[in-house]
Symmetry: C2
Subunit: 146 residues, 2 copies
DNA sequence: GCTGAAAAGAAAGGCAA
DNA sequence: TTGCCTTTCTTTTCAGC
């Protein structure tokens, strides 16, 4: 990717609501040129979308945890991600190398909700779980070097 | 949090660039009322900001990994997050319960970069690392139930 | 809290150079 | 790619309920 596009993407990962006028100033192009570039970045899928960043504490989801799962019966078809997709507490699902099959990032209101969620995960996907509770988050979702 | 605010936040986590006009329609309020509520949600820190969602593949960072770290010498002061904050490959840093001290989420271009990053992490924070490579990401950063 | 209106600003598109 | 122009939409503020 080219220099100017990188600058545009970098600016938008920090502030996704920057106006094209401000963007144009920062990257030293005209508004129409910047507008055109952003549209192309969106079409190419470099920019997948825009989202508000929320405080999970404010949303009453102060407990974050990682849940490593592996199938109870490894000979069964492995469709855990689909079987778990309906659970809104699951923020992310990663298929991983190593001893576990998947690593889930979950957000809940507290220990009781975590317990209930783990039971739902186990029965919905027929897996065993190993859970790591997050105590604090020094930083999260930082803008990548672009 | 109240019903209407939840609807507003939910809509903005899906599309952070929704206009106040569209938002107002969805939640059944006037544009100014919605505007006022969004401003308050931002001030209260419920909405922390807005960010473009980028494709890490398109940014030439196709390799994601989790790096669990623990201090080489547990009697030393534990300031790993600050010591590692300058590394742009680190997307997130979680302080965790369990055998490890921190769990890092990192994004790199490939195995060679991962190797170099791990060496930097070890020397910068005086820690040992245990790395889990992500093979695929069925889903990530889903909107929470609000 | 809310509404509605007015003014300012931005988006989106076309077009000539 | 720039610069300009036009139309439409959005943001922002403000008086008043």
């Amino acid at each position: 990717m080219e220099e100017t596009d990188r600058a545009i993407v970098a600016a938008l990962t920090v502030d996704g609501r920057l106006s094209y006028t401000d963007l144009a100033e920062r990257v030293g192009l005209s508004v129409s040129a910047v507008h055109q570039r952003v549209r192309r970045l969106e079409q190419r899928g470099v920019i997948k979308g825009y989202a508000a960043q929320v405080s999970f504490e404010a949303l009453d989801l102060p407990l974050t945890a990682f849940v490593a799962i592996r199938p109870f019966d490894p000979s069964q078809p492995d469709d855990a991600p689909e079987r778990l997709a309906h659970l809104p507490e699951i923020d992310s699902c990663y298929s991983v190398a190593g001893e576990d099959f998947y690593l889930l990032l979950v957000r809940v209101a507290g220990p009781a909700d975590l317990e209930r969620l783990l039971q739902e995960i186990r029965t919905a996907a027929n897996v065993t779980t190993r859970t790591t509770v997050v105590l604090s988050t020094p930083y999260e979702k930082r803008s990548p070097r672009i």
